[in-house]
Amino acid sequence: MESILSEIVAKYNYWIYVILMMIGFYAMIGKRNLVKKLLGMNIFQTAIILFYVSMGVKRGGGIPIVDKHEALLHGVNPAHIDNPVPHVLMLTAIVVSVSVTGVALAIMQRIYREYGTLEEDEILEKIER
């Protein structure tokens, strides 16, 4: 029991991302309101962004900006800087996530104009009729 607990505490960042992801996933699948679905999707994507960001971070690491002369003279100790690659990747992922959200919002507007509601059940009811 203790070992599991310490495991969780030691890797709390990953556990947080898993929990966030599950919340988002639940909202996407389980909620019937389109806005909530979209929010769930954003939570889901944010969870993954956190996952990537935290994977690049090191205990005691700094921002990955090094002085050129310093680096050329003494070299760079990788343990002292965070891995910048995952962070850079997430810039792109954020852009993607924002674009998808934008498109989804635009589409939701069309749905709202057509059916006057964003509750999936009510929309389906109106379609049936």
């Binding site: 994507q45 995952p86 674009s99 998808v100």
Partner: protein
């Protein structure tokens, strides 16, 4: 210089003209068709030369912006990706001929928006085909998806809702893929697919690698609508504007299957040879179940385009099963089927688009007497249907041949049975349509008055690509020996 960078031009042409279409298309409608056809025509011709070059000089890697791999983004131009390049640009070109007409009818005033998305989507697909970088693949996947969402949402009625559901499912798929890539990055510290592959075997058969692949493959399965993750597809594809359907339906799922094949060959196969064979039979069983279930669902449809969407889902099962059978015959079949299925789907969707242009609906009860009123369209449709059923010498027969042979050699009889059952179901499905088209409906048959139903063919611009694809289906069928020997065999790894 030009010949070395040709594939980049192929990729850039639709991307740049997509932006131009948005600007110039507002001024004059003429620009839209000029730019669309011009850029896609250029890409098709260019892709053809890329393929010739690869076949003559062998495959090569290309580093974008001269950032050397594994740091920079790498593109891989091998016979298969060159073939896919040609396929994507060719299909998009032919589809755009028909789309230009049907968009005029269905979305007057919005043509420039439509074709902006259309062209960027094509550019995204072309990029997907070439990329050798796992993260770049994610970005391109989302570029194509976002444009697809937009295109589908332009349809009538329920289309926006279908598109929204697609967004949710598509995002889940993409996120899963991204997660898997994240795991691989943690394990190997690189994003270049070949680089990942070279470092993975050292990891051994750990659960972490398995989880990474599980996420990646499930993500791709959602994107390619592998049954039972297909829920979003039928609505999205059948409600999209005709002009979008003719391009999205043949290409999106097939390119995703191609990606799965890439992931499978480049990263998964070298790693799994260290263990973990147990997954393969499971996937083949799942694919067999998918084929049968999707075929059964197709039987209960009452609308031509919806029926076709379920057939697409079944065909995805063909290809996934073929890849995971993991023997030379089945993989050959799966890769050949990517080409063939794109063409068959294109043919059928083009025909559907032409019919809807004239009849306004694709419900079965609107299809009466079609052979008389639209003989050319229906002739091409018939060829496409025969190819789906798998009648030689159409292309569909030959890929099915390799797939079934792979199933027999791998001892997976469930897959063999599934393929045969689905062929039979396809025969039922398409002969039902053919029957509707061949026999006049009630009022037309009145008084046995044949011939009164005037010939009312779709516009030439929609019929031409259709006839061309129908001829291509037979040509590809007869030429499948060449395609297999000179292209596909080259890329099937030797250890299969």
């Amino acid at each position: 210089m030009i010949s070395q960078n040709l594939h980049m031009f192929v990729l850039a042409a639709p991307l740049l003209s997509g932006i131009l279409v948005n600007l110039l298309g507002r001024l004059s409608r003429r620009w839209i068709s000029v730019l669309t056809l011009g850029s896609l025509g250029f890409s098709t011709v260019g892709a053809f030369f890329v393929l010739l070059r690869v076949l003559a000089k062998g495959s090569f890697h290309y580093t974008v912006g001269n950032w050397t791999p594994p740091y920079g983004i790498e593109l891989l131009v091998d016979p298969l990706s060159a073939l896919m390049l040609l396929l994507v640009s060719g299909v998009a070109f032919l589809a755009s001929l028909s789309a230009l007409k049907s968009v005029d009818q269905e979305l007057p005033g919005k043509q420039h928006v439509f074709f902006t998305m259309y062209l960027i989507l094509v550019a995204g697909l072309l990029g997907l085909v070439l990329t050798a970088d796992a993260f770049n693949l994610y970005v391109l996947l989302e570029i194509t998806s976002i444009n697809t969402y937009g295109l589908i949402a332009m349809g009538k009625g329920r289309a926006p809702l279908a598109s929204f559901n697609y967004i949710i499912m598509g995002s889940i798929g993409a996120c899963f893929y991204l997660l898997g890539v994240g795991y691989l990055y943690i394990l190997t510290g690189t994003l270049n697919m070949a680089d990942i592959a070279s470092r993975l075997p050292a990891q051994g058969g750990t659960a972490a690698v398995a989880t990474a692949f599980a996420f990646i493959l499930v993500g791709l399965c959602v994107k390619m609508a592998f049954f039972p993750l297909h829920g979003w597809l039928p609505n999205a594809y059948s409600l999209a504007p005709s002009g979008a359907g003719v391009m999205i339906a043949p290409l999106m799922t097939k390119v995703t299957v191609y990606l799965m094949a890439r992931v499978f060959f480049v990263m998964y196969a070298p790693w799994q040879s260290t263990g973990h064979q147990g997954v393969h039979p499971l996937v083949v069983w799942a694919a067999s179940a998918a084929i049968i279930a999707a075929s059964a669902l197709a039987l209960s449809q009452k609308n031509l385009r919806r029926m076709l969407t379920y057939i697409i889902v079944a065909e995805v099962g063909y290809m996934v099963g073929g890849i995971w059978l993991a023997n030379a015959q089945a993989i050959t079949g799966a890769l050949l089927h990517i080409v063939n299925d794109s063409l068959m789907t294109l043919c059928l969707f083009l025909a559907a688009s032409a019919i809807v242009y004239r009849r306004g609906s694709l419900d079965f009860n609107h299809l009466g007497g079609l052979y008389r009123s639209m003989p050319l369209t229906m002739a091409a449709f018939t060829v496409g249907a025969f190819s789906m059923i798998g009648v030689p010498p159409t292309a569909g027969f030959f890929s099915k041949w390799y797939l079934i042979l792979g199933g027999i050699e791998g001892g997976h009889w469930e897959f063999v049975v599934a393929l045969l059952v689905s062929s039979l179901v396809n025969a039922v499905l398409f002969f039902r349509i053919i029957e509707f088209g061949y026999f006049p409906t009630g009022e037309q048959a009145h008084g046995h008055g044949h011939g009164e139903l005037a010939v009312q063919e779709a516009p030439l611009q929609m019929v031409q690509p259709l006839i061309l694809v129908a001829v291509a289906l037979i040509a590809v069928g007869l030429g499948s020996g060449w395609i297999v020997n000179d292209i596909i065999r080259l890329v099937v790894p030797g250890n299969f």
